[in-house]
C-alpha cells in the first residue's frame, strides 16, 4: 500500500522546496483599539479545535455548534459587557499533530482571545507541549478531557478542566458497582493510554477488583476484527459486569460486536463513551443499550423539568437547527454558558490574565447545569467532581436510577467518596448571566 521511492527521496532531500503557506507572522490585525489580543470594544474571539471529521467525530462534532448556538443567543441579547462572542472552529480529526497546527493557527493567525473546550487527552497534551499556551498566557478553558493531569496548575497554568476527572469517575463508579453488585465478577474494557490509566488508578484507589482488563489502543476500534478480540477476551473470563471505559466509537464497537456474538453481560458505560445518540448513530440498536448503566454529571437530556434543559432545548431549537438534543449538545451549551459567566466576571477591561483571575476567584460560584460543584479557586483548576448513575431506557435515554439524581463526589486523590449535598445555583433569568 505504501510505496516510497527512496532514490527520489535522495533527490528530494537535496532540493529546496519553495511553495507553501505563511504560518504565523500575520501583522497585527484590526483588533484594536482594545489592547488585548482577540478583544475589541464590540467583540471577543474564541477558538476551538475538535474532531469534526474522522472516526472520532461522531457526537463530538456536535459540540461546537451547540456552543455557538448559546453564544448566538447571548449575542442576540446584547452580548457580554457589550461584546459579542465569535467562535472560530477548526477540525483536528482527533489527530494530535493536526491539533497543534490548528491551535497555532488559532493563536497566531486568527488571534483568538482564548482557546475553548479542546477535546482529547493526546491532543490537549500535544498542544500544551508544542504550542505551549501556558507560556503564551493564552487561557485554555474547560478542556473536553477528564485526564486529571490537566488540572495541575503548575504544569498547565492557564488551563481549566470542566469534566470530572477520569479518576473521579472511576472511583465513584467503583463504589457504585461494589454496592450494587457485591461479589460479582467485574471486567473492564479501557483505552490504553492516559485516559485508561486514570481509570485504572481510580478503580484501584476505590478498591475495585477487576477479573479481566482488556486494553485497546486508541484508533484500533475502527480496525476490522479488533472489537471481536475484545469480546472474546471478555467472554472467556466470564465477568458478570463489564465496564466500557472508552470513547463512544469504542463503546459502539463493543456493544455492536457483543450483540452479534450474543454476549450480554451487565454493561456499565463510562460517561465519555456513553452518549446514546452517538452509539445509536454507529448502528447499534437502542435495544442493546436498554438496561445498561450510565453516568453523568449533568441532568438527563430528556429531563424537561430541569430549567437548564428547558432553556438549552429552546436555544437548540432556535439557534442550532433543532439538532438532536443529546449529551454532546448539552455539554457544548453548558460549556458556553460557563464561559460567558467567566467573561462577564472578568469585567469590562477584559484581559487574558483577568479572565483567569476571574475564574479562580468566582468560578466555584458560577451557575451551571452541572449537578456537582465546580471547584475553581486560586489553587485549583478542577471543574466538576461528581457523578450520578442511571439506566438506559428502551429508547436509549439515560434516566437516573429511582428517578432521583443521587450525586456522589470525590477527588482525584485519596479523598473519600461522599454523597453530595451540593445545591445548584439557580439559573440566572433567561439564562443570561448577570453582568457587572
Amino acid at each position: 500500500m505504501i510505496g516510497i521511492n527512496r532514490r527520489r527521496l535522495l533527490v528530494a532531500s537535496a532540493v529546496l522546496a519553495t511553495g507553501g503557506l505563511v504560518v504565523s507572522t500575520v501583522p497585527a490585525q484590526a483588533f484594536s483599539p482594545h489592547s488585548e489580543v482577540g478583544v475589541t470594544n464590540s467583540a471577543i474571539k474564541l477558538g476551538v479545535t475538535i474532531p469534526l471529521t474522522g472516526a472520532a467525530s461522531p457526537g463530538y462534532n456536535k459540540v461546537p455548534s451547540a456552543m455557538k448556538a448559546y453564544f448566538d443567543y447571548v449575542n442576540a441579547n446584547g452580548g457580554v459587557n457589550g461584546r459579542k462572542i465569535t467562535l472560530v472552529v477548526k477540525d483536528d480529526q482527533y489527530v494530535p499533530t493536526l491539533a497543534v497546527t490548528q491551535t497555532n493557527d488559532l493563536i497566531l493567525k486568527d488571534k483568538v482571545f482564548a482557546l475553548l473546550a479542546p477535546l482529547g487527552t493526546a491532543n490537549v497534551k500535544a498542544v500544551a507541549t508544542r504550542v505551549n499556551p501556558g507560556r503564551r498566557g493564552v487561557p485554555v478553558l474547560f478542556v473536553n478531557t477528564g485526564y486529571s493531569g490537566f488540572a495541575v496548575k503548575k504544569t498547565y497554568p492557564t488551563t481549566f478542566t470542566m469534566l470530572p476527572s477520569y479518576i473521579v469517575e472511576a472511583k465513584i463508579m467503583a463504589q457504585y458497582i461494589t454496592e450494587t453488585y457485591p461479589g460479582k465478577k467485574i471486567g473492564l474494557l479501557y483505552q490504553d493510554d492516559d485516559f485508561g490509566q486514570d481509570a485504572l488508578a481510580g478503580f484501584k484507589q476505590a478498591g475495585l477488583s477487576l477479573a479481566v482488563k482488556v486494553p485497546y489502543a486508541s484508533g484500533s476500534q475502527g480496525v476490522a476484527g479488533v472489537p471481536a478480540t475484545w469480546i472474546q477476551k471478555l467472554s472467556a473470563a466470564s465477568p458478570d459486569v463489564v465496564i466500557l471505559f472508552g470513547v463512544s466509537s469504542a463503546t459502539a464497537a463493543a456493544l455492536g460486536t457483543a450483540a452479534v456474538m450474543k454476549y450480554a453481560p451487565k454493561w456499565i458505560l463510562g460517561s465519555v463513551g456513553g452518549d446514546a445518540t452517538t452509539i445509536k448513530a454507529s448502528g447499534v440498536p437502542a435495544g442493546v443499550l436498554y438496561g445498561a448503566t450510565g453516568a453523568s454529571f449533568l441532568p438527563a437530556t430528556t429531563d424537561t423539568t430541569d430549567e437548564y434543559i428547558k432553556l438549552f432545548q429552546s436555544i437548540n431549537a432556535k439557534y442550532n437547527n433543532n439538532a438532536v438534543f443529546d449529551n454532546n449538545v448539552l455539554v457544548g451549551m453548558n460549556t458556553a454558558f460557563v464561559t460567558v459567566q467567566a467573561i462577564a466576571a472578568a469585567g469590562q477591561n477584559l484581559t487574558r490574565k483577568g479572565l483567569i483571575a476571574a475564574i479562580e476567584k468566582n468560578g466555584a460560584k458560577f451557575a451551571s447545569a452541572g449537578l456537582a460543584p465546580l471547584n475553581y479557586s486560586t489553587t485549583s483548576h478542577v471543574g466538576y467532581n461528581g457523578y450520578w448513575f442511571g439506566t438506559y431506557s428502551p429508547t436509549g435515554d439515560l434516566k437516573p436510577n429511582g428517578g432521583v439524581y443521587t450525586v456522589y463526589t470525590t477527588d482525584s486523590g485519596s479523598g473519600a467518596i461522599v454523597k453530595s449535598t451540593y445545591k445548584r445555583p439557580a439559573m440566572p433569568a433567561d439564562g443570561l448571566p448577570t453582568q457587572p
Binding site: L16, V23, A55, K125, G219
Partner: protein, 546 residues
C-alpha cells in the same frame, strides 16, 4: 542493495557542487592571489593550516565582508555501491556562501550585487572540525582585511556545523565579527552524537544486532566496520519501510525485537519509539503526521502510520550521521564516545507517549518496548563509552549560546539533523543573559541614576512547515517524490528565506541593530514559511534532558 534505495543524510550545502572551482591545497599559508577582474575580483589562497579559501570582492565594495562557513562533510570517502552517498570523496573545496538547493547562487549574487564582499574556506580537515575551522576563519578574516584595507565590518554566517563554527567564532572572538547568523545550527558534539547514537543503538538493538554502532576499530579496520554499518543500516531501513503497513519486523531483528513482534507490537511502533527516544522530529520531508488518503485511512494514516514514516525519513539521516560522525569523533577522541548506560529512555518519552499513543500502539505496547530497551534487559546491552575519549570529546569547542554580537538564527522546525531545539537552546540562553543584564542595569541605576537597557541582540527565525503537505496518489499511497516540504529536511531554506537572514545580518553588522517592526514583518511575510513567533518552542536535544 541498489543505489536507488537511498535516503539522503547530508545537507544540500554539504555535498553539492561549490561556487568556486577548487584549488590545490597549499602546504602553508599562501596568497591570496587575486584575478583583479571587474566587476568581481576573485581571490584564492590558503591559510596556514593549508585550508583553501576564496574571496570575492565587488568593484563597488561597501566595506562589509560576509564570511561563510560550510556544513559537515564526511572526512572519509564513501565507496561506490554503499547506499546513501556512495561515491563521495573528501573535498575541501571552499564555499563562500549558501547555495539554494545545492546550486542556486542567487543569494551570493545578491550580496555581491549590493557591494558586499564574500569569503569562505573549505577548511583543512572535514568531519567534526569546529576547533580548527574557527581558527581558520580567524586567520581568513585577517587575510581579507590585509588584502582589502577598506574593510570596515565583518559579519559571519554558516549552516549546520558551519552554523556551530559561526556561533563559536562569535563566542570566542567577539571583536572580530560585528554580527553573525548561525543557520540550522548544530548543537555541541556530545548533544548531536547522543541524538544520532541513540537512534542507531535502537536500530541495532531491535532490528539488526550485527550493526556495530560505534566503538569502531582504529585505522582501516574501523573504516571498513563503519562502511559495513552503513550498508546494514540502510538495508534494515529498507526492510522497515517494507513492513510499515503490516507492522512486519525485519528478518534480521534481534531476539528482543522478535519477542516484541511475537507480542503483537508492530515494527512501525518500535521505529517511532526509537525516533522519539532520540528526539527526532515527527514530521519529515514528505510526512506531516496530519494528512491521510481519502477513504478508510483518512484518520488512521496520520494517527498510526505517518509518524513512523516521518521517523523513517528523518532517522535515515540520523543513523547515517551516527555512523560517519561517531567514527570520525571516535578517531579524534581515541575511543568510544557514545555511552547510554545511564540513559532513562522511559523518562525521555514520558510526554511523547501520550501524544503518539495511538501510533505507538497503546500503553501496553509502549511499556513492553521500554521494558525491552531498559538497561535491565540483558538482551538490550547498552553502549559503554570510553571515559577518557568522552572527556576528550567534551573538550572540543562547546558553544554556550552566549550572544556577544547581534545574532540571527534560522532553522526548520522539523530539521532532522540539527533539530530546532539547538536554536531554542541559544534563545533560552539569551533570555537568561538578557534577564541578567537587565538586572545588572537596574543595579547600576541605583549608583549612576542612568539606565542603560540591554540590547535585544538575538533574532530567531523559524522556517515553518505548511499546515499539511503529505500527498497521495490515486491508490491512496503517499507520494514521496516531491520536493521536501518547507521546514523539513536539513537546512532546507529558500532563497527568500536566506535573503531575510542576509539583510538582517548586514544591517546588524553595519548599524548594530536589526531591521525591525514593519520592515521585518514584510520581509518575513514575503519570504513565506517563516515565523518570528517569540514563543515558538521546541524541545532541547535529549542530551540536555538526561
Amino acid at each position: 542493495m541498489k543505489k536507488s534505495r537511498i535516503i539522503s543524510i547530508l545537507s544540500a550545502s554539504a555535498l553539492v557542487s561549490m561556487v568556486v572551482v577548487g584549488i590545490p591545497s597549499a602546504a602553508h599559508a599562501a596568497g591570496p592571489l587575486c584575478d583583479g577582474k571587474v566587476p568581481i575580483n576573485s581571490c584564492q589562497g590558503a591559510t596556514s593550516d593549508s585550508a583553501p579559501y576564496v574571496m570575492q570582492v565587488p568593484a563597488n565594495f561597501n566595506g562589509t565582508l560576509v564570511l561563510y562557513s560550510h556544513g559537515y562533510r564526511p572526512n572519509v570517502p564513501v565507496p561506490a555501491g554503499i547506499p546513501g552517498y556512495g561515491g563521495y570523496t573528501v573535498t575541501n573545496t571552499p564555499q563562500p556562501g549558501p547555495l539554494v538547493g545545492g546550486k542556486d547562487t542567487s543569494v551570493i549574487a545578491y550580496l555581491l550585487g549590493n557591494g558586499y564582499a564574500i569569503a569562505g574556506s573549505g577548511f583543512a580537515r572535514q568531519g567534526w572540525n569546529a576547533d580548527s575551522a574557527i581558527a581558520t576563519d580567524v586567520e581568513l578574516i585577517g587575510a581579507f582585511k590585509a588584502q582589502f584595507p577598506a574593510t570596515k565590518h565583518v559579519v559571519a554566517w554558516g549552516e549546520s556545523l558551519g552554523g556551530f563554527i559561526t556561533q563559536g567564532l562569535a563566542e570566542t572572538h567577539p571583536t572580530l565579527v560585528d554580527a553573525v547568523a548561525p543557520m540550522c545550527v548544530a548543537d555541541n558534539v556530545g548533544a548531536e552524537l547522543t541524538m544520532a547514537g541513540d537512534f542507531l543503538w535502537g536500530v541495532k538493538t531491535l532490528f539488526d544486532p550485527t550493526i556495530k554502532g560505534g566503538n569502531y576499530s582504529a585505522g582501516a579496520a574501523g573504516y571498513a566496520e563503519a562502511m559495513g554499518d552503513l550498508v546494514k543500516f540502510f538495508t534494515v531501513i529498507g526492510k522497515l519501510q517494507a513492513g510499515i503497513a503490516t507492522g512486519a519486523w525485519p528478518d534480521t531483528s534481534s531476539a528482543t525485537g522478535k519477542a516484541l513482534a511475537a507480542a503483537g507490537v508492530p515494527s512501525r511502533s518500535a521505529l517511532l519509539l526509537l525516533g522519539l527516544m532520540a528526539g527526532l522530529p515527527t514530521q519529515s520531508a514528505h510526512f506531516d503526521s496530519i494528512s491521510g488518503p481519502a477513504g478508510a485511512l483518512k484518520v488512521t494514516f496520520p494517527l498510526a502510520i505517518s509518524p513512523a514514516l516521518a521517523i523513517l525519513e528523518n532517522g535515515a539521516n540520523a543513523g547515517a550521521l551516527a555512523v560517519l560522525a561517531l567514527s570520525d569523533v571516535e578517531n579524534q577522541a581515541g575511543g568510544a564516545i557514545f555511552d547510554n548506560t545511564k540513559t532513562d529512555y522511559a523518562a525521555r518519552v514520558a510526554s511523547d507517549r501520550v501524544i503518539f499513543n495511538a501510533a505507538l500502539s497503546g500503553d501496553t505496547a509502549i511499556d513492553a518496548m521500554l521494558g525491552a530497551l531498559s538497561s535491565a534487559n540483558p538482551g538490550a546491552p547498552r553502549a559503554v563509552g570510553n571515559a577518557a575519549a568522552i572527556a576528550k570529546m567534551n573538550a572540543l569547542q562547546a558553544n554556550t549560546g552566549k550572544i556577544n554580537v547581534p545574532t540571527i538564527t534560522m532553522v526548520g522546525v522539523a530539521d532532522p539533523i540539527t533539530p530546532a531545539g539547538s536554536s531554542v537552546r541559544i534563545a533560552q540562553a539569551f533570555a537568561q543573559q538578557y534577564a541578567d543584564e537587565k538586572a545588572a542595569a537596574f543595579k547600576d541605576y541605583a549608583k549612576t541614576h542612568t539606565y542603560e537597557p540591554p540590547k535585544k541582540d538575538l533574532l530567531s527565525l523559524w522556517s515553518t512547515t505548511p499546515s499539511a503537505y503529505t500527498t497521495f496518489d490515486s491508490n491512496g499511497s503517499p507520494i514521496s517524490t516531491t520536493p521536501a516540504a518547507p521546514g523539513t529536511n536539513h537546512c532546507n531554506f529558500t532563497a527568500a528565506q536566506y535573503l531575510v537572514v542576509a539583510k538582517e545580518l548586514v544591517t546588524a553588522g553595519t548599524t548594530g541593530s536589526f531591521l525591525g517592526g514593519g520592515t521585518l514583518m514584510n520581509l518575513v511575510r514575503k519570504a513565506k514559511n517563516l515565523s518570528i513567533d517569540p514563543f515558538f518552542d521546541a524541545p532541547l536535544l535529549k542530551y540536555y534532558q538526561q
